[in-house]
């Protein structure tokens, strides 16, 4: 029984193609039934996410035959009406199929390297197949081992450390300054797309109080409503500085709207509590000289992007370490299964050496 994989992912096909081959969750149990009834696979798991559609199958067929049959099955099952081109679909047999499964579980094959969402999606796909009794000894062992490897890699490597988006980096920095984000107050000056993203990321990490200061009060009010915050007139943003802890600025002002001379007296009002300033505007809104003030931490878009890029670089440097671990774990799994097969050889039949 060989474990094989066929599928499409963001590496091989655009979203227009992937969406044609995606499985609705409600249709997966029926598809798994068809796979078994047709004799194509004795065990199977279907993983369908926005970035990949994959069928993991344990089959008695030879790999070449299994790949062609599974491709036909995929086209029929989703009603695509056409077969994806040879470059769009990948087919893997053991040991590459197991290595691929482990890589997917660890986020090494993801669009955002090292992300963890895929592990949850893979667990859901496995649980669905398992609950409908479409997994057996081979896939159970392979998936359980994949989940263990993902945990091991998360604990022992830096592949999932740090944030690779500007908004997440801003949140991470805030967490390095403030004990708890829940009690922090955030001021958003100007309501650009990026400042919205950062505010959203902060809210997702517990920030409850948001004040929006926009040139268009109407738009500021709309945004404030979305965050359950409050809107103030653009001219009044400086009045909020006594209470806020984080300020995100992204106005289209041609020059600095906040400089050292303006901030220094405001810091006294704040009784020297730390202040994180995130300047996402181009041209910049905040004079870099304010960073020389005590308890003020200023980051502009380039600083945040540089940290995000460094994180990504570090994650890429970890790939080799992770692949080493995966190769080792795949070998261990295959050796264990091989040992079990030898151990279960009937009496009188010579054992393989």
């Amino acid at each position: 029984m060989n474990v094989v994989v066929i599928g499409l992912s963001h590496h091989t096909s655009p979203v227009e193609l992937r969406e044609r081959f995606a499985f609705a969750e409600s249709k997966i149990p029926a598809a798994l039934n068809q796979l078994r009834d047709s004799g194509l696979a004795s065990e199977s798991v279907i993983l369908s996410t926005c970035n990949r559609v994959e069928i993991y199958a344990a089959t008695a067929l030879l790999p070449a035959k299994a790949f062609s049959e599974l491709t036909h099955f995929l086209v029929r099952a989703v009603g695509a009406g056409f077969a994806p081109g040879p470059k769009a679909i990948y087919t893997l047999a053991e040991p590459h199929s197991l290595r691929h499964l482990f890589k997917v579980a660890c986020g090494l094959d993801s669009m955002v390297l090292g992300e963890t969402e895929i592990l949850g999606q893979l667990k859901d796909a496995y649980t669905l197949a398992h609950s409908h009794k479409h997994t057996g000894a081979r896939l159970n062992k392979a998936f359980q081992r994949a989940f263990n490897v993902a945990k091991h890699i998360r604990t022992h490597t830096n592949i999932q450390r740090g944030s690779v988006s500007v908004a997440s980096v801003a949140v991470e920095l805030a967490q390095k300054i403030f004990s708890s984000l829940a009690e922090r107050q955030v001021l958003v000056i100007g309501s650009g797309e990026m400042s919205e993203k950062v505010a959203r990321a902060l809210v997702s990490r517990g920030v409850k109080k948001i004040v929006i200061a926009g040139r268009s009060l109407e738009r500021a009010e709309l945004l404030a409503e979305e965050f359950s915050g409050r809107a103030v007139r653009f001219e009044d943003w400086a009045g909020e500085f006594g209470n806020i802890d984080i300020a995100i600025s992204s106005t289209s002002a041609p020059g600095y709207i906040l400089d050292r001379a303006k901030l220094e007296p405001l810091m006294k009002l704040r009784k020297h509590r730390p202040l994180l300033l995130i300047d996402i505007a181009v041209p910049r809104d905040i004079d870099p000289a304010v960073n020389f003030l005590d308890n003020v931490y200023l980051y502009n878009i380039d600083d945040l992007q540089a940290i995000a890029d460094d994180y990504l670089k570090q994650r890429k440097e970890e790939i080799r370490v992770c692949e080493g671990i995966i190769d080792q774990k795949v070998s261990q799994l295959r050796n264990a299964e091989c040992g079990m097969r030898i151990g279960s050889t009937p009496q009188g039949v010579p054992r393989a050496t």
């Binding site: 920095l173 005590d294 308890n295 570090q314």
Partner: protein, 253 residues
């Protein structure tokens, strides 16, 4: 020395080499303490030298337990510096005088006085460690170093709170320790106050730390300056305490 390199690298990875170096030092330290204990037929906590080394030993033991969790192993970078300075402090002259037939801290009041002062210095020491953590992280955040985001250090606001709490604790213990002094002086000399360099020095230290706390509460002094003052005042104690102890007539008649 190895910890200095780790400090420069940032605090992102647990470091087994540092852990095992401290473990090896701990094993040697334990052996030395056992040897000393057998040689004097008592627990080796009878004078300032032994007390300092005992505190260092407990700090190393605590770190070795915390260090079992890989996320907390980075604390070894700070622990090794603290242990090194405590070791240097313990080697200063006059802390380990020739042993008399009776233990130095035989009276309850003297033991309490010494224990309170030592605990206060311990609290100031830990506050200085928190201050060093604060200064490191604050600097990294200011100059936009990647390790600011990547490090395992706690948020600077929490470190500031820890610094403050330990200082309060230290001042409280120091006050209690100093408050016992007049009774000890009266027991020995029949007067409530006797001018002594170590006593003057202790009052200066007490006033300094009290001033530090008042400047924080009253004038909102915080952040970098507060951390520098905390770290520098502990370094001052480490470098000067033994000198005043040497000059003291009350402690070495």
């Amino acid at each position: 020395m190895y910890s200095v390199f780790l400090w420069r690298k940032g605090f992102r990875k647990d470091d087994r080499a540092n852990y095992f170096l401290i473990l090896a030092a701990f094993a040697l330290h334990t052996t030395a303490m056992i040897e000393r204990g057998f040689s004097i037929s008592a627990c080796p906590v009878n004078n300032l030298f032994e007390a300092t080394l005992f505190i260092a030993w407990t700090i190393a033991a605590s770190y070795l337990i915390f260090g079992l969790f890989h996320r907390l192993r980075f604390l070894g970078v700070f622990a090794s510096h603290l242990l090194f300075f405590m070791g240097v402090f313990a080697l200063m002259p006059a802390l380990d005088p020739p042993r008399s037939s009776t233990p130095d801290f035989s009276g309850t009041l003297i033991s309490l006085h010494a224990a309170l002062i030592l605990l206060a210095i311990g609290a100031f020491g830990l506050s200085a460690v928190a201050a060093l953590m604060f200064l490191t992280e604050e600097h990294d955040l200011k100059v936009h170093k990647l390790r600011a985001a990547f490090s395992l250090l706690p948020p600077i606001q929490r470190l500031e709170r820890v610094m403050n709490s330990l200082l309060v604790c230290g001042v409280f213990l120091f006050t209690a320790g100093l408050a016992i002094s007049p009774f000890l002086v009266r027991q020995k000399y029949g007067v409530w106050f006797k001018n002594d360099p170590l006593l003057d020095y202790s009052i200066f230290i007490w006033l300094f730390y009290l001033g530090l706390l008042i400047s924080r509460w009253k004038f909102g002094q915080g952040g970098r300056r507060f951390a520098w003052s905390t770290a520098a005042s502990f370094a001052f104690i480490m470098l000067t305490f033994w000198g005043f102890l040497l000059l003291s007539q009350v402690h070495h008649p």
